[in-house]
């Protein structure tokens, strides 16, 4: 244990928000993300080796821990949690990838498709809730989603995120 509680508190306050943001984006669940981040902070607390850049250590470790947890999930669990089926998709820088996807959503999708995608993926609404909010049918929501996913997939086949 190389840090005093006061030193460790400063590191925690500085590193927790970005680490939590990363963990939530990978695990899609706030409680699981918090658990992963806290586990890494406990490792840092117990570490006897001097770590020059604790923030980089925390971010890198949280990323690896989350990817390990995703890798440990079976196919059914992956579907349930909306985890990717193929972990090689994590080979590129995560932040850069998120930026590419967000840019593609803005530039490639129609206004209605963007609305639907936003309600479902950003706000976490169901098809039914989205249909009610946008005053359209559920089948229309599915149509918009399929259309949006196809456009994005075609784009990223040539511009791998």
């Amino acid at each position: 244990m190389q840090y005093s509680v006061t030193e460790f508190e400063a590191i925690y306050l500085r590193c927790f928000p970005p680490a939590m943001g990363l963990a939530v984006s990978l695990l899609h669940d706030e409680d699981d993300a918090r658990d992963a981040v806290q586990e890494i902070f406990l490792r840092l607390w117990e570490s006897d080796t001097v770590i020059d850049n604790p923030q980089a250590f925390v971010i890198r470790s949280v990323r690896n821990l989350c990817l390990n947890r995703i890798a440990a999930a079976d196919t059914r669990e992956r579907f349930r949690r909306r985890f990717p089926l193929d972990e090689t998709s994590y080979s590129t820088d995560i932040e850069e990838r998120h930026l590419m996807v967000q840019t593609a959503v803005q530039s490639l999708l129609s206004g209605r498709e963007r609305q639907v995608v936003d309600k479902i993926y950003a706000e976490g609404l169901s098809y039914k809730e989205t249909a009610e909010r946008l005053d359209v049918s559920v089948s229309m929501i599915n149509k918009c989603i399929v259309s949006a996913l196809k456009k994005l997939r075609t784009h990223f086949k040539t511009n791998k995120p």
């Binding site: 925690y12 939530v24 918090r34 967000q102 996913l149």
Partner: protein, 228 residues
């Protein structure tokens, strides 16, 4: 696969993945297009999910007790290993010291005495053998191992009370320690239950962060049970 089935599968895999059957999952996995759509959907989820609005100070308040708890667990582990090592170091001492005393005592009193005692022990240890006369010396046909066992038993007789007292004290201390640790765990669980309840209450009643912090500050003092 018809378009209708495909649309149904897409709707399920995005909106209600819990209801996907094993066959439907296998169908999605086997279909390149559906699989591609699913991967794109997962990527969208990852990229568009907003970062949570975290209050780092509050998170620290909740997390901080875990540091002490973990440190205490580590100390318990270290002290357990130390106790085991100490036991290993002292055990030979406990066994060998009385043997020396016995040998010295018996040597100073009479050279015949130990043999007499050995015979008595043989009678009690192995009742299947015929009883030996009290003053008879050990027979020559015995295996080399027997005399060692006899010596140890003989040696332990005079020091029995001392060893038992010492062992009782050690055992009592161990039990006291176990009780103290169990009580500490109970108090600690109470503490965490209090924190969880405070957080849930704050979330349900939409209490401000300051109120929650004050509630956590007023939690039963964990320092009284963690002696660190």
């Amino acid at each position: 696969m018809t378009d209708e089935i495909r649309n149904s599968l897409v709707e399920k895999m995005i909106d209600r993945p819990d209801v996907l059957s094993s066959d439907e999952i296998a169908a999605i996995m086997a279909d390149d297009e559906l699989r591609g759509l699913y991967d794109m959907s997962a990527l969208l989820q990852e990229s568009l999910m907003p970062a949570p609005d975290v209050d780092a100070a509050r998170e620290w308040k909740v997390f901080r007790p875990r540091l002490r708890r973990r440190r205490r667990l580590l100390l318990m582990l270290v002290s357990g290993v130390a106790a085991a090592l100490a036991g290993l170091l002292f055990l030979p001492g406990i066994i060998s010291t009385p043997t020396h005393i016995t040998r010295e005592l018996t040597a100073s009193i009479s050279p015949e005495k130990p043999q007499t005692m050995q015979v008595q022990v043989i009678e009690t240890e192995d009742s299947s053998e015929p009883a030996q006369p009290a003053e008879q010396t050990a027979p020559a046909h015995r295996t080399p191992r027997k005399p060692d066992v006899e010596k140890k038993v003989v040696a332990s007789v005079p020091s029995e009370e001392i060893d038992i007292d010492e062992l009782m004290r050690i055992e009592q201390a161990r039990i006291d320690n176990d009780i103290a640790m169990t009580m500490a765990d109970i108090y600690e669980d109470e503490y965490y239950a209090y924190i969880d309840a405070a957080i849930q209450l704050a979330e349900c009643a939409s209490l401000p962060a300051e109120t929650l912090a004050a509630m956590i500050d007023n939690a039963p003092d964990i320092d009284r049970i963690i002696m660190l």
